[in-house]
Symmetry: C2
Subunit: 307 residues, 2 copies
């Protein structure tokens, strides 16, 4: 069965390489790269890479939307696209060999209530033949956090589990709608719940109704909080590279395990192995496949600690 991956606010991710970033000048762009972006699409690409079939669900509009659609076709990603009247957003990341990258994120299109209804209908229809629905990435501006709750409920009614990687009020709404797994990073968790520690924040989301709270901590590993305990797994040691997209690869690992009825312990192992394999690649949505397989042989299964 396919995994349904919802990307509520897809983008063209543009990267400009310049000689040296400066403010207030005209800079010649030496190299331009464009990729279909949005966290859900990164998750879907990693899942496809490791042989797990996906169906992406996303709104697309305007010339930028047509471009994304063409590139999804070229990448061989199956997609159910909801056409919208407004223009799909872009992000622009400026890189040089000296400073940290600078990222400019457009907020995204206006999506009408009728267009959101159509997206919800497509999620219902595709979830009916899926074991798992992944919802990942930001919402466009002015979109209600309750949309995410609605998608989680539709998936549950269709008998599919859910993994939700969103932030702010939408994260709270997903927990209240009883998402199987919510997957914030530490900052998102503290920000949305107002908690002062990771454990306190996770307990707050579990209390609202989330089945599990998985917190990815990058090089500090990953931790799953369950109603009856927690599991923690250290990151693959000694992996350096580009962390962009590592969190999305970790989500793909959780999705692989949960869609095939592997336990949460194996889900953490898959998440860590794929997260580390993504760090070895410069581009979000790509992994080092051989490294992933090697990491899997090296990583232990985490044991559950009772609280």
């Amino acid at each position: 069965m396919s995994i349904v991956v919802v990307t509520p606010n897809p983008a063209i991710d543009v990267t400009y390489r310049v000689d040296r970033q400066t403010i207030g000048t005209t800079q010649r762009v030496r190299e331009v790269r464009r990729m279909p972006g949005g966290k859900g699409l990164n998750v879907a690409r990693v899942l496809e890479d490791i042989g797990s079939p996906t169906v992406s669900v996303l709104p697309l509009g305007g010339a930028a939307g047509s471009w994304v659609q063409q590139r999804l076709d070229a990448l061989g990603l199956a997609a159910r696209i909801v056409p919208i009247a407004d223009e799909t957003r872009s992000t622009v990341t400026v890189v040089d060999d000296i400073d940290h990258p600078t990222m400019f994120g457009e907020p995204g299109p206006h999506v009408t209530p009728a267009e959101w209804q159509q997206l919800t209908d497509v999620i219902s229809a595709t979830a009916a033949s899926a074991a798992l629905v992944v919802i990942s990435g930001s919402l466009p501006p002015a979109a209600s956090p309750e949309l995410v709750a609605g998608w989680v409920e539709k998936a549950r009614l269709s008998g599919a589990r859910t993994i939700v990687d969103v932030s702010g009020p939408a994260l709270l709404a997903a927990a209240a709608a009883q998402a199987s797994v919510v997957k914030p990073n530490r900052d998102e968790l503290l920000d949305a719940t107002g908690a002062s520690s990771e454990a306190e924040g996770a307990r707050a989301l579990l209390a609202r109704g989330a089945g599990a709270v998985v917190v990815s901590r990058g090089s500090a590993g990953i931790c799953a909080y369950l109603p009856d305990g927690r599991l923690e797994l250290a990151a693959v040691p000694g992996v350096t590279g580009n962390p962009t997209g590592a969190g999305d690869a970790a989500t793909a690992g959780l999705a692989l395990a949960l869609s095939t009825d592997l336990g949460i312990d194996e889900a953490l192992r898959q998440a860590n192995a794929l997260g580390a394999a993504a760090v070895l690649r410069p581009v979000a949505g790509e992994i080092h496949l051989a490294a992933y397989q090697r990491f899997l042989t090296e990583l232990p299964l985490p044991a559950k600690e009772n609280p």
Copy 2:
């Protein structure tokens, strides 16, 4: 008769407004504006605004090219578009209320020899029923400067005058091809000719074959160098605002005068009035129409000085 306006390297001109430009961070884009860009398209929009019909000739490709085409239709700009396989470029300008704008310019698409040939054929065909051909803006990377010379020659063979606003080797090629007017700014003139003064640079272009060299100096006015003398006209005094696109508006003023057989003295008056009227508008390609008409009543005709 229409004025033919060639834009060899059109763009989507994107403007991002952010709270404060910083390097190495993620910045939320508060406001996004997209306009069809490239200097020739700015010239055409100003000409249409003052009631002078144009036909734009330009290569367009990919999703960005489709977007530009749709916007030209929406703006009511007549265009003869040469489809290309590669993607039309974008420029991104980042603005805040504190620092100067930062501009990122993509180099532009690869245009094949067959595509250039098609563009040249379209210039020939449209020039046959035009009094004037304007060629304005950069060439895509790897495009030969000799292309510009070819377009100037085709226009001349069709009985049309030419105004050429290009830089570098293409400026030298346009002069050698006997463009009626070349219109560099001071920096472009010194850069292309290697001269150490404006007058020396202008004489070099006249010696190569240009009919006239018009140098726009922004708030320092405009000067036309002819084989038998020069004319100089001070800028409209006391105009402050956004100089972006003022040079293109000035080109439109030259084009209006030359397409209707007004003399070079009236051309400079039109150029200065439109340049100043563009400074009053924040967006390239737009002018303050009432101010333009007022400036025309105020500006004197320049007198020719013999060298």
